[in-house]
Each structure stands twice: as C-alpha cells, then as structure tokens.
Symmetry: C2
Subunit: 329 residues, 2 copies
C-alpha cells in the first residue's frame, strides 16, 4: 500500500496539518519542521493522493479534452500539444471522443463535468446554446469555434482563404469552385463567408456545388460536378475533400494541376504524401493545443490574461504540387 499523510506525519513526528502545509505552503512552516517532513516524505516515497485532495479542495488536477473524432487526422496534433502542455502544468487529460454526435457530446460533458476542473472543447458540434449552458458550470475553452464572448482559440480562416484565393488569382485562375463542408459546421460557415467576399474582391467567378461530408468520399462524390462546371481551380473545405477530388480527377484522367488546380485546408499529414502533393492552408495545430491549455489554466487560477480570452492564430498557405497556372482556354 502507498504511504498516506498519516504515515509521513508519524514518521516525522508532526501532525498531519504540518505535513499538508509543508507540501502546500512551505513558507508557513519552520525550517526544521519542514526538513523533517521532507525527509519522511522522501523516505516513504510519499505522494499525495489526488483523489483525496480533490475531494476536499474540489479540484481534481484533471481537465477534459473533447474531440469530435480522434481518428480524424486533424485532431491528433492538437491533442498531442495539449497533452504535453498539460503535463507541464501537472494536469492530467481526460480524453473524450463524441463521434461527431452533438448529443453524445453534451452527454459526455455532463457526465465528466464533476471529474474535471475544466474543459477544452475542440471543434464542438453542439449548438451555441448548449455550449453556453455548459460553460455556466465549469471553466471551458473552445478550440476552433467561437461562441459569443466565451474563451476560445481559433484559426484565421478568413485570412487562409484569402491567401488561397490570391494564390489562384495570381496563377491566372478566373473561375473557381468552393466545395463546402457540413452546413452545421461553424468553421465551414467562416470559410464560406471568406470565400464569397474574397472571390468578389478578386473578381473571381465562384461556383458552389454545395455541401458535402468532409471526407474522402465527399470529395470523390462532388468531383464530377466540379469538372462539369468548367472551373480551372477548386478550393476544398478541407484536405480530405481535396484528396478525394484529386483521386477522382486522377481516375478520370484529369491532370492536376494541368487541367485543374486544387487547394485544401488543414494540412493533414497525408496531404504532403500524395502526388501531386496538395497545396493547402496550414494551421499551427500545436500552438492551438498549447494555447488552449494555457488559457484554461489561467481560467482555473482566475488569473487575468493580458491578451484577452479570445485568441486568433494565423494561417499560412503551403504551396505544393496541386496548384499551377490556369490552362489557356
């Protein structure tokens, strides 16, 4: 059995209180008491039981990290960074995967809420109101989603889209398609809006084949529609759709970027591996995960943040092989 605070107290010849204090507020105990306690702690290899501590302090030293789908290549990078940062704060991470289902999501939050000090909700699928009601009970940081004034870390989707469109325009493209993701996705709405204003600003002719599921199949399914619309370039809601387009174009003998250019969004690992490699908008995922934990940690210690509680991270266009000059008509 592991040593308890009582064992330490007995060995050191002091009271439990003193042991507790030595650990929590060393400057409140006399040097020699502290020394004896520390010796006893070392000798017994004592480490406070976090569960017990949690019961009396109401703080568990654990945070909940919720993702819609950990198997989606967009998320592991964020989780990893968050994980690493949490460890630096001595926080453990309770991972929850909602399987893209809003009901499961709120359910998970509800059941986990008493075991954690706070939540990081990564691209939550639940509605604004549900999210707001959750945040009443426990500190929450939103990642890749913004709801009112709630603390959040987002990427500069609009600027990413702007860069992508400017890149295409510079290559001589005049008519481009935007393949939208799920209608209910906050990020999709952001990107869609940016595409519309961006296209208008650059004088681009915009074709919108509608919303598809944000995976390979979605891209494959919409590819022929895009082709029939005689665009010379297509911007995809995300890389998976972009890869689906690429795959279907290849299959139909449409050359990329000779006949049509493709730009994705997210810079998932696979995008660099296909050929031609996918031009895409990259987001600092590790920074996002890290900043999410930083923000939550500040919230937990109700520290004020100089930068405010709503962070926007820059995006960057990565030009690879899938974009090239527009073909001559």
């Amino acid at each position: 059995m592991a040593a308890t605070i009582k064992d330490v107290a007995r060995l050191a010849g002091v009271s439990q209180s003193s042991v507790s204090r030595t650990l929590a507020a060393p400057d409140q105990v006399r040097a020699d008491t502290r020394a004896r306690v520390e010796r006893a702690v070392a000798q017994l290899g004592y480490e406070p039981n976090r569960i017990a501590r949690g019961l009396s302090t109401g703080r568990t030293g654990t945070i909940g990290f919720l993702v819609p789908d950990i198997a989606n290549p967009f998320f592991p990078g964020i989780v990893k960074a968050a994980q690493r940062r949490s460890r630096e704060f001595g926080l453990a991470v309770l991972l929850a995967d909602s399987d893209e289902d809003p009901a499961t999501e709120t359910d998970l939050i509800r059941t986990l809420t008493k075991q954690v000090d706070g939540f990081v909700l990564c691209a939550p699928r639940a509605g604004d109101d549900d999210l707001r009601s959750v945040c009443g009970d426990v500190p929450v940081v939103l990642l890749n989603r913004r709801v009112g004034q709630l603390p959040s870390i987002i990427f500069d989707n609009a600027d990413g889209i702007r860069q992508a469109l400017a890149h295409l325009a510079a290559l001589g493209h005049r008519r481009v398609a935007y393949v939208a993701g799920p209608r209910t996705s906050w990020v999709n709405r952001e990107r869609l809006r940016a595409v519309r204003t961006g296209a208008a600003g650059l004088g681009l002719d915009l074709f919108e084949p509608g919303n598809v599921s944000p995976d390979l199949e979605g891209g494959v399914a919409v590819a022929d529609l895009v082709l029939a619309a005689s665009v010379t370039a297509v911007v995809a809601y995300n890389d998976m759709i972009g890869l689906g387009l690429l795959s279907r174009f290849n299959a139909r003998g449409v050359t990329v970027p000779g006949d049509v250019s493709i730009v994705g969004f997210d810079d998932i690992p696979a995008s660099a591996l296909v050929s031609p490699a996918l031009t895409t908008v990259s987001q600092p995922k590790d920074q996002c995960g890290r900043a999410g934990i930083d923000l939550l940690a500040d919230l937990l210690n109700d520290r004020d943040r100089p930068g405010g509680t709503r962070v926007c991270l820059p995006t960057r266009l990565i030009v690879r092989g899938s974009t090239g000059p527009a073909p001559r008509p």
Copy 2:
C-alpha cells in the same frame, strides 16, 4: 451547486445509507423505500460524485491509456475504439502520450497510477522489467507488446509477414529487402524474425539494410541502399517507411511496381491515398482497442476469462498498387 447524497436522503426522508444502497444494490432495499429514493434522485437530478466514491471505494472509474505518440497515425484508431468501449463500461479514459520516451512513459505511469483503476499500455517502449514492476501495483493490459505472461493483445505479426512474403514470391520475386524499424522495438523483433524464417522457407534471398527510424525520413534515407542491392521487392517495417521508399523511388524515376514492389505494414490511412496505393498488412485496430478494454474490465472485476489473458488478433494482407510481378532480369 450539485445535489449531494444528503440532499437526496433528506428529500426522500431516509438515511444516506439507504440512498447509497438503492443506487449500488437496489435489491437490498424495500420496494417502497427504493421508489421514494428514486423519485428524489430524479427530482434533484442527483448523480453521485465519482471523486468521493473513488475515495471510499478505491476505484475511480477511470483507466489510463498510454500511447507513445498520438500523432502517429497508427494509434488514433486504437484509441478511438478503446474510448468507445470504455464509455460502454462507464469508464473514463485518461490519455497519456509518452513522446516515444521510455523514461517519460514510466514516469507517467507512476504519477497517474493512483488516479486510475488500471492501465492499457499501447505499444509501450519501456523495458520488460520496468513493465513488470508497474504491473505489480495495478492491473495492466499490454497492446501490441508481449511481456512474459502479462495480459496482452497482439497482432499476428508473423502471419502478416508470411502473407506478404508469399504474395511477393507468387509474383516471382526472388530477392527482397526487409527494412527494419527501431532495434529496441518488440514488434520489430517479431517482424524481423518472421521475415527471416519466412524468406528461408520460401527460398527467398533476403537483403537487410539495417534499422531505420519508423517514419518517412527513415524510408527516404534507406531507399538508395535498397536500390543498390538490386532487389525486386522490399518489405518495410511499417507504412511510413514504405511511403518514404515510394517517395524516394518516385523522385529517382524508379517505377513502382514496375521496377520494384513495396509492401508496408499497419495500413495507416495515408497508404490508401498515395499512388500507387501501398500494399500493406492490415491489423484490426478497432478490435484491438476494444479487446484491450474488455480484457482490462475483466481484470478489474477479477472475472475469469474463457479465452485466457493473452489474445492474438489476425492480420490481413491488403494488396494494392505498389506490388506487381517481378521484372524480367
């Protein structure tokens, strides 16, 4: 503030004990008492505080799930399945990422060990003895690793390799390379052994360029060595190495599978997306994650398992575009 057991007891007009019993062992309380408690529970929306329960029962309802690198595409699928299964058991999952470092790994296990009921260690990097010592304190299930008689779920690496070599032999390949992964990896040792016996059995000439890191760079770095050895096919320790080989071959104008065939191992998502798509040995990852939780749950309830505590899951060769008939000399 959330309702406590006291509130429920007061409202129902019974003692705390009865409330507790109603929840834990309903058949030990009289029907009408139970009914009153249940009504009070419903009315207050009471849910027992797991922390408090954990303190008195010594069980937290949480399991630790440790991976070497969640950003490695091999793991998210397993984590996801494990996650889903845990939820069915009412278990929460504490995720830990060791960053491929054995010391971090044992450290994580040690610090988390008092917050969890048990661990699932996914492809642990620590040495056998460290692992054994951990398992003394807390129930542990090993995934993709076997250490003595410890409970474990592994894939049938040997059979996967056998299938891959048989496939190549059938295509007329006579001289093949095996690009080994990290020397310290248990899985690598398994696969290497299987390659040697398999090649001998099939009368294949085996070239071993040595160990490389199990990522894209590893594959790229070793590609020229493989080529210089005039093999017609190469089996890679894993898909990332396989993709690295493919990429370098492409760059050098070596056609795949015209000049040389490539077989990977793991069937990560990207392998299906590249062209030619990578022939690879697939492992039932979701089954693995699920079985890991099942096994741990049995251990936690010290149930006896009919199947024993060491499970071996089948592997399956997925033939794609990267393998073809051996070129005529």
